[in-house]
Subunit: 93 residues, 2 copies
């Protein structure tokens, strides 16, 4: 899958609430009432990642979860990352 | 709970297989066969964290999980962190 150009990533981000660029990846921070709610989100994201066979980086800081996406095999952000970000937004709002 | 002195942390780390110092925290990287096994570990750690009401930072990178511990309220590594690190080692070997 082709790596998206900067302008294409910028365009995609306009449709991805809460996501922004971080180096070679795109990421979003989700905040929850507590750790338990954060872990419920993480497990739903994990299930979606397994289904799509595309796994975000996930950082858990008590009630805050950062998800980051990049297609390491392609060497940048691809449409797969955009699709997974959309899926994660469906899970986390 | 009292913050451990550098020498005390160093001493504690000798009994904590795989853990080392990272800035103000102590951390260990665990590696698993795949993402699914990594998530099983993360969920067991999450349960132990809720039980102890002491929550490690958890970073998931496909089959690699980094757990990091510091007592933010105390401003450094305390015996609570050492105890949770021991518990995490029981879970992850």
């Amino acid at each position: 899958m082709a790596v998206l150009a900067d302008a294409e990533i910028k365009q995609a981000l306009t449709g991805l609430k809460g996501w922004n660029r971080n180096g070679s990846a795109i990421q979003r921070v989700f905040e929850f009432p507590d750790f338990k709610a954060a872990m419920q989100f993480v497990n739903k994201v994990a299930d979606a990642a397994e289904q799509a066979n595309h796994h975000p980086d996930i950082d858990i800081r008590y009630n805050k979860v950062t998800t980051a996406l990049v297609s390491h095999d392609a060497g940048g952000v691809t449409q797969r990352d955009v699709q997974m970000a959309e899926r994660i937004n469906q899970i986390g709002r």
